[in-house]
Point group: C2
Chain length 341, copies 2
């Protein structure tokens, strides 16, 4: 059996906005498996905001992507071939894989089996994966919401935001979101049960919109975007409010960050701001799965996925996600999904 | 006995820098005591950075100062007359009193007796008072220092900074400070045991000075000044570092705050930033007094006080403190100190 692997190579570092010529798509042979290795046929891959940081030649959470090499990503796939007793062909796994159709996993390290009966496969890259875990941790462990408090989340319909808002509703909070599109806002309210969601691109003033929709101020801000939005939120924070600093997607493609000016609010309102990255908290993964897996099973949570088709479209899907063109968690479908409804 | 009270009236709100014409000093009769009231002859009053916020016509920690009225302050005084069974003439007390030589305290509420044998009276407005409590809380409860970590404190020789640095040394940390004067820096190192202290006004670059003196990065930043200093610190923070946001004195007299640009550091370094005001934590006051009172008694801490003389000089002392002209905790002596060595 000869298998061709189609993969995305990191070709050029972006300056400012990422463009498609930062990537090159090519075919390559799949290398021979060694003892203990497994070959994964990738079915869905995840594109995530944090990847933008890994394209820079600077320190971020994790090591940068290597120029001229295939890029990494979270993915869900099927074991195509196994020389490892822990895996059998046909099993569904997830883990840190690559932007490619087929990945050889040395020693089977870093992938785990998942139960495809639990949820649609893309969910394991979203609500049951890193974005859902991020939402759960940031809201509950940093935000510590109490019933009746106001939670505001930016990028509200995104991979993380939609989970934040729904968990906050389960905890009895008033939930306000923002997004860059009327349809997204409508879905946050009607599909996810948010109390309000506004289009930050079309309101006259974000400050006024926050005033209108958060009449009692903001107790928890789940920060996904940064920059001017953070500055506006600072004007509406309540005493003892909390900011879960998860991401700053509005800033990642700027050559100079916008910065913030209303820093004094952090002082006079005695705010706790906590930056975090979920990979530091894997010890809590079982608790997350009990909570979010349970709520999902009980029909208390919904989740929206945006599926791009084919490895050749991965760069475009990634860039679109950075621009907010996705509606829901963005994944790329790389091959047949045997569990697709 | 006719007593004249000399007091400072809040005459005019400042715009930008405070000037002496924001205040008016006047004489007034001391009103008759009612049942339960006490009259305190104030001996030392405290001038503190937070007072600048109370001069604005906006929300801050506490209610603003009322125009045309006497201003409030922490003070130490002697009971001059008591119609309250809990107090006797000659006892030394501290509490929220006023910018004046004599304060009538209705019902004796809000003042507590102190033991003048413990320490010089001005210390009760400094290391044993609100600034010391602030230093202790911010460093230990927010910063949670571990031996070997690097602690950086701005306004290092000030009312709070000198205590932060000394406690951090007791906890086994590397301690670096900054101040706006070579003599202050020298004193931080030689008098307080800091590992290093630099003059932020004369170094070529604060970033480079931090790089030089914090070669392993900063684990805890005790923030007293804000603005550009905070932005520089953000470039040197270690993963999982903590910022105790105590004050931002560099910003209080600006019409527009400088803002910060290196916000992304808070995210990628997973920083905890916590704004605080010590009046929210009075439940911990006994623990603070055990710790700091004990260290002081054991000769493990020193404290430097800068004493201005006379109520007429209170506005000038306050303005000088905002400009960093004080060397150590600034107090104003208002009358005879029977315990002065």
């Amino acid at each position: 059996m000869t298998i061709t692997n189609r993969r995305v190579i990191f070709e050029k570092r972006p300056e400012g906005w990422v463009s498609e010529d930062c990537f090159r798509v090519e075919d390559a042979p799949v290398p021979e498996l060694g003892d203990g290795d497994v070959l994964v046929r990738n079915i869905y891959m995840s594109v995530d905001p944090y990847m933008r940081g890994r394209m820079n030649d600077e320190k971020s959470y994790t090591a940068g992507f290597a120029l001229g090499k295939v890029m990494q990503c979270g993915a869900v796939g099927e074991i195509a071939e196994s020389r490892n007793p822990k895996f059998e062909a046909g099993q569904i796994v997830t883990g840190m894989l690559n932007w490619e159709t087929h990945t050889v996993v040395p020693g089977g390290a870093g992938i785990v089996r998942i139960d495809p009966a639990l949820a649609p496969l893309p969910y394991f890259l979203g609500i049951l994966g890193m974005p859902g875990f991020t939402a759960w941790y940031g809201l509950l462990k940093i935000g510590e919401p109490k019933a009746g408090e106001t939670v505001y989340v930016s990028a509200a319909s995104g991979a993380v935001g939609q989970v934040v808002g729904q968990i906050a509703k389960l905890k009895g909070c008033r939930v306000v979101g923002s997004a860059g599109d009327d349809a997204k806002c409508k879905w946050c309210v009607e599909g996810c049960g948010f109390d309000a969601c506004f289009n930050y691109k079309t309101v006259d003033s974000v400050e006024d919109a926050l005033k209108q929709h958060c009449p009692h101020g903001i107790d928890i801000y789940f920060e996904n975007v940064g920059g001017r939005m953070l500055d506006a939120v600072l004007t509406r924070l309540n005493p003892f409010s909390r900011i879960a600093l998860c991401g700053m997607i509005s800033q990642y493609n700027l050559k100079q960050p916008e910065g913030i000016h209303n820093v004094r609010s952090l002082l006079v309102n005695k705010v706790k701001l906590q930056g975090f990255i979920i990979s530091d908290h894997f010890d809590l993964q079982p608790e997350f799965m009990r909570d979010v897996g349970g709520w999902l099973k009980d029909g208390k949570l919904t989740y929206r996925v945006d599926v791009a088709d084919g490895i050749d479209n991965a760069p475009k899907a990634f860039i679109g996600m950075l621009k907010g063109e996705n509606f829901g968690k963005q994944v790329v479908k790389l091959g047949d999904d045997p569990y697709q409804a």
